[in-house]
Amino acid sequence: MAFVAIADRDHEQEHHDPHTFVSKYIWSQDHKVIAIQYGGTAVLVGLVALVLSGMMRLQLAFPDYFSFIRPNEYYQFVTMHGMIMVIYLLTALFLGGFGNYLIPLMCGARDMVFPYMNMLSFWAYLVSVIILMSSFFVPGGPTGAGWTLYPPGTILPGTPGSDMGILLMLLSLAVFIVAFTMGGLNYVTTVFQARCQGMTLMRMPLSIWGILTATVLGLLAFPALLVSAIMMIFDKTLGTSFFMPAVLSMGQALDHQGGSPILFQHLFWFFGHPEVYIVALPAFGIVSDLLSVHARKNIFGYRMMVWAIVGIGALSFVVWAHHMYVSGMNPYFGFFFATTTLIIAIPTAIKVYNWVLTLWQGNIRLNVPMLFSIGFIFTFVHGGLTGLFLGNVTVDLPLSDTYFVIGHFHMVMGVSPIMVLFGAIYHWLPKITGKMFNETLGKIHFWCTFLGTYAIYLPMHYLGILGVPRRYYAYGLSDFIPASAQSMNVGITIAALFVGVSQLLFIINIIWTLTKGKPAGSNPWEATTLEWLTPDTPPKHGNWGHNLPVVYRWAYAYSVPGAALDYITQTDPQKGGDIEEGDHGKH
């Protein structure tokens, strides 16, 4: 039996058709509602992180002008901004949001296999967010240790929030990891066990491949963060010395002795680097689908794309110490990690070529999702290229902890995934809401965001090469920083505020869609994949009405020669109609 989806139809979980408002929208076990809950919460905290970045930029452009930003606050803003963006926004939105929405729909399942656990996952995530936010209101405020939370500074007085703040941060991370694990087990099991008839692994859309691989990475990598969080909590509260070396703090010798801050760095980055790909792989997968749909062409080199996703995922576990070149490790280590890091460039470059080749001679529809997807190719190539610089030990040493790094990672894991997220939201909004968004508003939003982020981050590379350090509240009297750097900082800040404010266009567009949007119909993009073939739009509880779909072909049958339409859906039983692709097809 192929479609024994919901926990093998166990009697206790048999049917959970929701009846009341509360069971439908609040304590919901429906993957689509949970996806929206996840997504909405993630966007809300994301806005907090955005406001924090605006305040940092204000301080950098107009030092000491704003009395509410003192050094302590600045460090707290940096830390909370970084952590929220990476974990509570991007990870939650891609996996909790899109993972939840897309997996059952694209695989042809009625729901996740464990709907109840799925619901718990969201509520635990919400609790983790509340714990994190509450740290703004405790004495001492949130931690200001930087999102990497390096000991010993993190838990020593002198770092803002080194009492309550850091404990709440660690607790919140632990709860998040539990939430993620409950969700992740669901995603993986659903993909493996609950696909509809005919949906072989190699017929799955790349979105699912990206989400699946990212989830596996998360399941294996988040424990490293949990281990370091638990050990740090012990060091802080019980006086153990896992990470804490002998320290003189404010003239007093502390009880700690002999601990190893480097051990923490290893654990943190054993999680931290895969985390980059937990965010990137779903973006890779989703953008592949958007490009293919809106270029009316099959994705170029499908099987290569799958292998690249899986290969990048596996490699991402053996590169972590490229974040630690300046930690004084053995040079042979540096050599090893530089090599593995550069090897990852190969599958990554393959993916970029394949995206570009998918566009080649496509029948491109330059609509909003497509614009964001093409924007992603630009930002990702830029971020990726600077990554090659930083991957080399000798180049990294002078650039480490400068604005070059800030520019690099914002391009590659800040802006690029955000481009895909916006593209994906615009792409699936007609399915989620049943209504079409405002195209013009969407295009304005795209150009403001795309050009604006370039105006923010390109100059940062230049500042970095000048040697402007990151995580500095003010630069003081540093001879090597020319006065012109300050004017550049003003420019960057203006661009940042502009980008920040222009995100209102997005929110306005969502509201516009919900109130004024025209009905979108069930398949407005003329796409092939299952989520567009539901009997109702938006899909009802159970997704498929009476009968589950049956899949006859892969997800990319666009512009098939001889076919009546320029797309053939996955459920269409007609014979023929798959493209023989130039690079592998037999002729």
């Binding site: 093998d8 099991t189 006859y552 798959d578």
Partner: protein
């Protein structure tokens, strides 16, 4: 040090590889053969709950592998030269026997439901639970004994790790006991459905797994 993490990464890569290799040679874009072929799809021939349990065990393995790696790295003088081996309470040997007995009783319960002998698994389940609870009590006594020694410094990583690792392992046992309690109550109320059999089976897998983790952990503690 990084050997351990490398091994974990490699093993997980191999697992992924194995899972995929079965279907990854497909050429979905080809017209002949592929289109119209509608196989039943399940990557594994097990119920979803069992598949999920195995993924959960992978997560827990990652967790413990990382704890053990951290343990061994911290022992290395390069990461602090203050490791002082601590005495290991003898009661740990007794606890090991208790956990072994608990695991065996679980297996007994599983055999009963599997063979559909008509005999209730209830006694076996209860015995397994009692052994597991006594294991936990024994671990607490071990903590007590260490605490009573008195002159041990918590800043000594050997002691910190002792509490930490036994504690984390104990929490996993507690989690198992929660599932065990739910299954046992349902058996007690006379419910006999396939889902009970599955619960008993999954509990058994989990019990054996935690026994193995304990044996590795105990070995690590004894030898360091």
């Amino acid at each position: 040090m990084s050997m351990w993490t490398l091994v974990v990464a490699l093993v997980s890569a191999l697992v992924v590889w194995y899972l995929l290799a079965r279907q990854l040679m497909a050429q979905p874009w080809l017209a002949d053969g592929e289109v119209g072929y509608t196989p039943d799809i399940e990557a594994f021939a097990s119920p979803a709950k069992k598949v999920a349990l195995f993924f959960l065990l992978a997560v827990i393995s990652s967790l413990f592998a990382l704890f053990f790696t951290a343990y061994m790295m911290r022992m290395n003088p390069a990461h602090g030269d203050d490791w002082l081996s601590i005495p290991k309470p003898d009661i740990l040997w007794l606890n090991t026997v208790l956990l072994l007995a608990s695991s065996m009783s679980m297996q007994w319960a599983k055999n009963l439901v599997n063979h559909q002998s008509g005999k209730s698994p209830l006694p076996a389940l209860i015995i397994a639970g009692v052994f597991a609870i006594s294991f936990l009590v024994g671990q607490l006594l071990a903590w007590q004994q260490l605490y009573n020694i008195g002159n041990l410094q918590i800043s000594n990583p050997a002691l910190g790790f002792f509490y930490l690792l036994t504690g984390v392992h104990g929490l996993h046992i507690l989690g198992g006991l929660y599932v065990w309690a739910r299954a046992t109550i349902r058996v007690f109320m006379g419910i006999t459905t396939p889902s009970i059999n599955l619960s008993v089976e999954l509990c058994t897998v989990y019990w054996h797994y935690l026994l193995v983790i304990w044996l590795v952990l105990f070995g690590l503690l004894l030898t360091t």
